[in-house]
């Protein structure tokens, strides 16, 4: 148990002293997961809107499928992306494997289903009269989308929070396509907080793992506060 206390103290030390290694890792985590979340949002919101407001055969099945993909294990996502971008894969020529870009792609794919699904939930929760009012006021598709999102902003940003949480906390895909590389240059490295935590854990450094976990939660808190500010506007 003392590892938990030690982990806390270590976390405080890491944050206060701005430990350069940890800061680099943390910065990479933020950049990668935030980028993935933003890209996923750009796909998930229009997609979710199209599904929620569209009427087409198989709509319910599609929603079921999306919900099923919530269970997609991160390792499987990692493997699929890995197969696509490895040297012998169809996109091998891009030489993306073991780069931060690959991690962004994997995390984007990973959070896309849940963000789409929660967007659908969020939009389906909007009062139908609001929907009709927007139509009757002569909204174009885009205007409709923007305004319905404003109405559902609380729930949609909750979806973003879930997406970000899933992206920054996952490790399976990150390690498979990123590789947890610690090189001397920032850009060549792919070690993020979760992969570092895994590594420390496998080395038996529990308090260091917990310290890094706390650093991760501090980052998440910051992001969530930012999200909450937009939610309550």
């Amino acid at each position: 148990m003392y590892e938990i206390i030690e982990g806390f103290l270590e976390a405080i030390r890491l944050i206060v002293t701005l430990d350069p290694d940890v800061m680099a890792i943390a910065a990479r985590s933020i950049i990668i997961s935030l980028t993935a979340t933003i890209i996923a949002t750009l796909f998930a919101v229009p997609l979710g809107a199209a599904i929620n407001f569209g009427t087409f055969p198989g709509k319910k099945s599609l929603i079921n499928l999306i919900q099923t993909l919530y269970s997609l294990p991160t390792v499987v996502v990692g493997l699929l992306i890995f197969l696509l971008i490895s040297r012998v894969g169809p996109f091998g020529f891009l030489r993306l494997l073991f780069t931060p870009t690959a991690m962004v792609i994997a995390q984007t794919v990973l959070v896309l289903p849940i963000m789409t699904g929660l967007t659908i939930s969020a939009l389906s929760g909007v009062d139908p009269v609001i929907r009709d009012t927007l139509y009757s006021l002569g909204a174009t598709r885009l205007q409709f989308l923007i305004n319905i999102m404003k109405e559902a902003r609380f729930a949609i940003l909750a979806a973003v929070a879930v997406g970000f949480g899933r992206a920054i906390s996952e490790v399976g895909a990150a390690i498979l396509v990123g590789g947890n590389i610690m090189a001397s240059s920032f850009a060549s490295s792919t070690r993020v907080l979760t992969t570092a935590i895994s590594l420390e854990t496998s080395m038996g450094n529990i308090s260091q793992s917990i310290a890094l976990g706390i650093v991760l939660l501090v980052i998440a808190l910051g992001v969530n506060l930012a999200i909450a500010r937009v939610q309550h506007r």
């Binding site: 009269v129 609001i130 139509y135 009757s136 006021l137 002569g138």
Partner: protein
């Protein structure tokens, strides 16, 4: 301008509209009245392209509005709609009213000015910065009105626009509606359960019953010459009596209604079954045995006196129950009490005769 051509609408097994046919002219104020659940909201929603008819067509300027998906937006932009239970966007009142203008790409200062004017018109000047979600029922309804009016649509659809308003606000909104119609030539279709509102505002009224228009006409036609027993009852004719013609010639008929004989102006001929409709206001109550020549005069006993606005409604049992409306003063002067013997009189011209079976149209009945 708006043509309803056998418009039907089913929800699953429920038939709500069963072939509504009618026409709203350009620049006209058209009221749809009808009982709760008749399909008024459904009809307005079909016109505003928020739902699709099961059968039939709605044409605006000759164009079937449901036919061409590509033109939806431009058709919708011709119209403004106020919903029965209006919803407001979760933002300020000003922003709520501005939405339609923004959609049309109006400039900032133009929007500011128009929104202010609109709020002023519905009596909500100074409410601009309030959060719309915290408004009272009537305030929200007025925001919804302002929101629909501010875009100055060619056609304004309003579903029970004053249902939640007090009489002072109602008067204000009615003035506004008349002004918009007159000044901008806006065609206005509204539903209401307040028949007097229909009468005050509308050039023509459509009575929606049993899935069809039972009657379409000017307010005067609908209120004095209802096409059926149901319409009569709905427009507030309190004295509706069934009977058979026992003597019919020269445009005058004597009708036997439950033993009471009533003379009425009607071309109905002997033996016909008819329904007699007499407005309470046309009944005069007087001391018993005061006969006026040329008038129907029926003796009876007062069974109830119920206050009704500045009046009292007095019901008299003359064999058939007949109600009249008297001012409180008149009740006092005539010393009418429950049980008083009185005489009820009315002119044959005041009796509207609905002939034969109900003139109901092809409803589900």
């Amino acid at each position: 301008m708006i043509e309803l051509d056998s418009v039907s609408k089913n929800f699953g097994d429920t038939t709500v509209l069963a072939g509504v046919t009618g026409q709203v002219n350009r620049g006209e104020i058209f009221a749809v009245i009808g009982p709760s659940g008749a399909g008024k909201s459904t009809l307005l929603r079909l016109i505003d392209l928020l739902d699709t008819p099961t059968e039939g067509a709605i044409r605006i300027n000759g164009l079937d509005i449901h036919a061409d998906k590509g033109r939806r937006l431009s058709i919708r932009r011709m119209m403004g709609m106020v919903f029965q239970k209006p919803a407001v966007f979760n933002t300020t009142v000003t922003e709520n009213v501005a939405v339609g203008l923004r959609f049309r790409g109006a400039g900032r200062s133009e929007i500011r000015k128009m929104v202010e004017d609109a709020l002023d018109m519905v009596g909500l000047a100074g409410y601009g910065d309030r959060k719309a979600r915290t408004l009272s029922g009537g305030e929200m309804q007025r925001v919804a009105l302002a929101r629909a009016m501010v875009i100055e649509p060619e056609v304004l659809l309003m579903d029970e626009p004053t249902a939640n308003l007090d009489p002072v606000s109602v008067a204000m909104i009615e003035d506004l509606v008349v002004r918009i119609n007159r000044d901008l030539g806006t065609t206005i279709v509204f539903s209401t359960h307040d028949m007097y509102q229909g009468q005050r505002l509308a050039h023509r009224i459509g009575v929606l019953m049993d899935g069809v228009f039972s009657q379409v006409g000017t307010p005067r036609e609908v209120f004095t010459l209802p096409a059926s027993r149901e319409v009569a009852r709905f427009v507030g004719i309190e004295n509706i009596v069934e009977g058979g013609v026992v003597e019919g010639e020269d445009g005058t008929a004597v009708v036997d209604a439950g033993g009471v004989r009533v003379r009425a102006r009607s071309p109905a001929s002997t033996g016909e079954r008819v329904t007699l409709c007499i407005r309470s206001e046309d009944l005069r109550i007087a001391a018993p045995s005061m006969d006026t020549p040329g008038r129907n005069s029926l003796p009876g006993t007062v069974t109830s006196i119920v206050p009704r606005g500045p009046f009292s409604r007095v019901t008299v049992d003359c064999g058939v129950p007949l109600s009249s409306v008297l001012s409180w003063k008149a009740v006092d002067v005539l010393e009418i009490r429950e049980g008083s013997r009185v005489s009820v009189s009315f002119a044959p011209e005041s009796v509207h005769v609905v002939r034969g079976v109900n003139h109901r149209g092809s409803g589900r009945g």
